[in-house]
């Protein structure tokens, strides 16, 4: 019932473990599989030029606005973090992919970041050679150097990678005013799917010390509240694109995953929910989505994909007049004629 076709892969669930601290270790792949994940996007490996991004400051996480529920019951939090890329060398990463493939029965999606197109292509080739089922290009990490531009660096990267590998390629994009046009550009170049969206950078301040918290710089910030922004990007992209969309950002339960599907996502990547509410989150989402489909008599998830978008009205046809006088004093109480 939850089986999802994505990038030519048959996933047993639309729930994918997003790239991050829950996909940095071989043992975690087994946990993801045991709890019912459809696939795993591995932690992003950075090219040697960005070796400094293999080192993480401590501490690197702060939970803001947390409702402090535990055992899978948290509904509100913001995860403020400065976790960087895969912490080993590139050779370690290729071996990591091989070990994941040896030990896992679910698709493994590699994730890479670089700047020069040649580095992107070389890394993509290694990811493919190591046996990854697909590749996600991380154009949108909140920690990437701001000097890299989509129209130059990342377009060149997509061209180089697509020339290099045969496995399906996903482009992971930032939320913002350019998301849809970048997704269209990615599709035009031949990318097989887009991941919408990565987290944004934010900053929080400790008013006692009057200092930025944690490592003293901007951090990635996300949480359940972020889904409303990313779902809108998924909806807009769904209307324009012909390639599948992996929605990600703030999904913590079955309801959220269903909402992502209803606005057009094929799969939904979750991460902070696993971190805060545990690996059981995946099994709980699968059970809740299954129960929903059974309750509604829907056989396959794809039957409801994009249904909410299909029902959206257009900007021009929003009903704005609800019966009050169009001129004269408004909102004035008048006794009705007897």
């Amino acid at each position: 019932m939850l089986t999802t076709s994505f990038l030519g892969l048959e996933l047993r669930s639309p729930v994918i473990v997003g790239s991050g601290p829950a996909s940095h270790d071989v043992n975690q792949i087994g946990l993801a599989e045991r709890h019912g994940a459809g696939a795993v996007v591995l932690k992003t490996a950075c090219s040697d030029k960005f070796e400094h991004m293999r080192f993480w400051p401590r501490p690197r996480y702060k939970l803001l606005d947390w409702d402090k529920q535990i055992a899978g019951r948290s509904k509100q939090f913001s995860l403020y973090s400065y976790e960087q890329g895969y912490s080993g060398s590139l050779d370690d990463y290729w071996e990591f992919i091989r070990a994941c493939k040896r030990n896992a029965g679910i698709p493994i999606i590699g994730s890479i970041f670089a700047d020069d197109a040649a580095d992107w292509a070389a890394m993509a080739a290694e990811v493919e050679a190591a046996g990854a089922d697909a590749l996600e290009l991380d154009f949108s990490s909140p920690h990437r150097p701001g000097s890299l531009q989509f129209d130059t660096t990342f377009v060149a990267a997509m061209r180089a990678v697509l020339d290099q590998v045969k496995i399906p390629v996903l482009a992971k994009l930032s939320p913002g005013s350019l998301t849809e046009s970048q997704a269209e550009e990615a599709e035009h170049l031949g990318v097989h799917g887009v991941t919408l969206c990565n987290r944004l950078q934010g900053i929080d301040v400790d008013i006692e010390s009057q200092q930025p918290i944690l490592h003293g710089y901007y951090a990635g910030i996300g949480g359940p509240w972020a889904k409303y922004y990313t779902m809108r990007h998924v909806a807009e992209a769904y209307l324009k694109l012909h390639i599948p969309i992996s929605g990600t950002g703030g999904a913590i339960n079955g309801e959220d995953v269903l909402k992502y599907i209803l606005v057009g996502a094929s799969t939904v990547q979750i991460l902070s929910a696993i971190l805060i509410n545990g690996w059981e989150t995946i099994a709980r989402i699968n059970a809740d989505v299954t129960a929903y489909l059974q309750g509604k008599g829907i056989e396959r998830l794809e039957m409801i994909r994009g249904r909410a978008v299909a029902s959206m009205t257009s900007l021009e046809s929003i009903v704005r007049w609800s019966g009050e006088p169009l001129d004269g004093a408004r909102n004035v109480w008048k006794e009705k004629d007897p």
Binding site: P21, F55, R58, P59, R60, I70, G278
Partner: protein
């Protein structure tokens, strides 16, 4: 107390301490109220509860230093500020963030 600092950056971790000995968490056992909140929040199996004879609650949280990545999540879960940072002296040259 050997560089132990309260999170988050209050005051900020002194750079030499953070650079040379990346911090890991430690439980101030006298402060722990054995509420069981931190073990499920630790994503790295670095926290568990242990029995303690003579402890007012009979148990306390304990950090497994070898597993601790110094991420900071346990500090959030603790309602009584029983966590402090201590330098990571464990022999893990490949540990993320550690440049010994």
């Amino acid at each position: 107390m050997n560089g132990a600092q309260k999170y988050p950056g209050l005051p900020p971790l002194p750079p030499p301490f953070a650079a040379q000995h990346p911090p890991v968490a430690r439980v101030l056992e006298d402060n722990c109220i054995a509420c069981d909140r931190c073990p499920p929040v630790c994503f790295f199996d670095a926290l568990h509860m242990e029995k303690r004879t003579g402890h007012p609650h009979g148990r306390t949280a304990v950090v497994v230093v070898e597993h601790c990545t110094g991420c900071g999540l346990c500090f959030e879960s603790c309602p009584v500020d029983a966590f402090v940072w201590v330098p990571d002296m464990s022999p893990h040259p490949s540990r993320p963030g550690q440049r010994l």
